[in-house]
Amino acid sequence: MDEFLLAAAGVIVLTVAVGLARILRGPDDVDRLMAVQLLGAGGIAALLLTAYATRVPGVDDVALGLALLAAFAAMAFLNHLDASEGESE
Amino acid sequence: MTPSVLAGLVGAALVGLGLYGLISNPHPLRKLLAFNLVGSGVFLVFGIVARRGAAAGFAFDPVPQAMVITGIVVAFAASALAVALILRLAAASGKVTLDPRAWTKPGEGGQ
């Protein structure tokens, strides 16, 4: 069963890595943002799967932190995207 | 190849990539980003020492890990200070560059 969990994690990492090609290609910043979101979800899934297979302690808290931070990063990028209007310092 | 050796090699590659970016990118914020890459590479190399030093009944050596944690926070503090200086420089001079040639031309540099 552990082998299966690891294999699933591997497939997800691979899939998401291919999705990162979207970051490279763009063409818009929005697409890059979406690729990072996909990476966030996939990374958390792979983290949980690996952690349950290798029994590293305390990884559920790391997963919680990553889930928070993925949302935080997405919010910061959106803040950049739609706040460019009316910005003057 | 054990995971720790692999991670150490990744760290070495990151230091190289960051160094290249630090020298070749003209944008100061990009330089800062590259510098952070160097930093995390160094942390990774440092961290595998932690993984290898599995002594005293730990799965890892907690001393380097604790130092990496403080190091990450200090690196962030330094980055924030650098950002403040870059912004101030740009506001004072209207130039977003660290290139010394840009400063030899006549123009107000700083206040």
Binding site: G58, L66 | A7, G21
Partner: protein, 316 residues
């Protein structure tokens, strides 16, 4: 364990690939997006190295907060009207930089491959610290941070305060004492406000939980504090909260609380337990949690202030 080895290799390639993208991306925003993705991936690598504490700190501070710092800085830089960017370097410099980088990376890789097989380690000493003065701490990282290397940790907090002072002092003279510019100027969208209203309280709870379990499990003051800082910035980005004035007494008290309490307890240890930063045997664990609680406050306040930048406004 060949599946695991393949997973490790894939992850390693991915990290290096995203780092390369960060260096070579055409614009700043794309590079920062790459950098945040890189921070998330690096956290996975740290988990594989059995360092969940480092993974959390790296993801929170290295990836998330640094990413926001750079995005905000890029936006402010764009707003400075006549900003001109220096010319890209010539081919000669690029070749030189590439050669230098390859040399350094190669040398480091050689060092990594030829490390002695039984490395010298401070782990026994740290184990002693974990079972001695830091008695009852199940998480050796916390024991090292607060007990074995307590002086480092205290000074590291001082560095954080110095950085905040440095950032503040870069502001214009006339702006001294005012609040930093908000992370966002226009009114945010309803969806963003909702997201912040859900995220911030849940994140607060998770941050406190990670701080609290830090004595015995992965987690602790740095990790919890960094998450709380991120949630503070979430509230600032949705304009639920404005950056405070930098002459606010509360703000300054919160900034110095961590190192001050640490120092006071440390000096008290000199009198009660014999040497600086020694904790009396029976009170070690509650004392350490007490110090950590104030450090969480200091970190959670210092990081958003560092991102917010110098005070804004005043006469032109």
């Amino acid at each position: 364990m060949s599946v695991l080895a393949a997973l490790d290799l894939g992850l390693a390639l991915l990290v290096v690939g995203v780092a390369a993208w960060t260096v070579s991306a055409r614009n700043l925003f794309a590079a920062v997006v790459g950098y945040v993705a890189y921070g998330l991936l690096l956290a996975l690598v740290w988990v594989r190295l059995y360092a969940p504490d480092v993974a959390l700190t790296e993801a929170a501070v290295g990836g998330g907060v640094t990413g926001v710092l750079l995005v905000t800085a890029g936006k402010r830089l764009d707003a400075l009207a006549s900003a001109e960017i220096g010319a890209p370097p010539g081919r000669g410099l690029k070749i030189f930089a590439g050669a230098l980088a390859a040399l350094v990376a190669g040398a480091l890789a050689w060092v990594v491959l030829t490390l002695p097989s039984t490395p010298p380690s401070l782990a026994p000493a740290a184990a002693e610290a974990a079972s001695g003065p830091g008695a009852g701490l199940g998480n050796p990282i916390t024991a090292v941070l607060i007990s074995y290397r307590s002086f480092d940790t205290m000074l590291e907090k001082v560095v954080l305060i110095l950085a905040v002072l440095g950032v503040w002092s870069v502001g214009a003279d006339a702006a001294w004492g005012r609040a930093p510019a908000p992370l966002r100027k226009p009114e945010p969208d309803g969806a963003m406000i909702l997201l912040a209203q859900v995220l911030a309280p849940v994140g607060l709870l998770i941050g406190l939980h990670i701080f609290w379990v830090g004595a015995d499990a992965p987690g602790g003051a740095f990790q919890g504090g960094a998450l709380l800082a991120a949630m503070g910035m979430v509230a600032m980005m949705a304009r639920l909260m404005a950056p405070p004035r930098i002459d606010s007494r509360k703000l300054r008290l919160a900034l110095v609380a961590g190192p001050a309490v640490f120092l006071v307890v440390g000096v008290a240890g000199l009198m009660l337990a014999g040497h600086l930063f020694a904790y009396p045997q029976n009170f070690a664990k509650p004392l350490i949690l007490f110090i950590e609680a104030f450090m969480v406050v200091s970190i959670a306040v210092a990081l958003p202030m560092l991102v917010s930048g110098p005070p804004d406004g005043g006469a032109k």
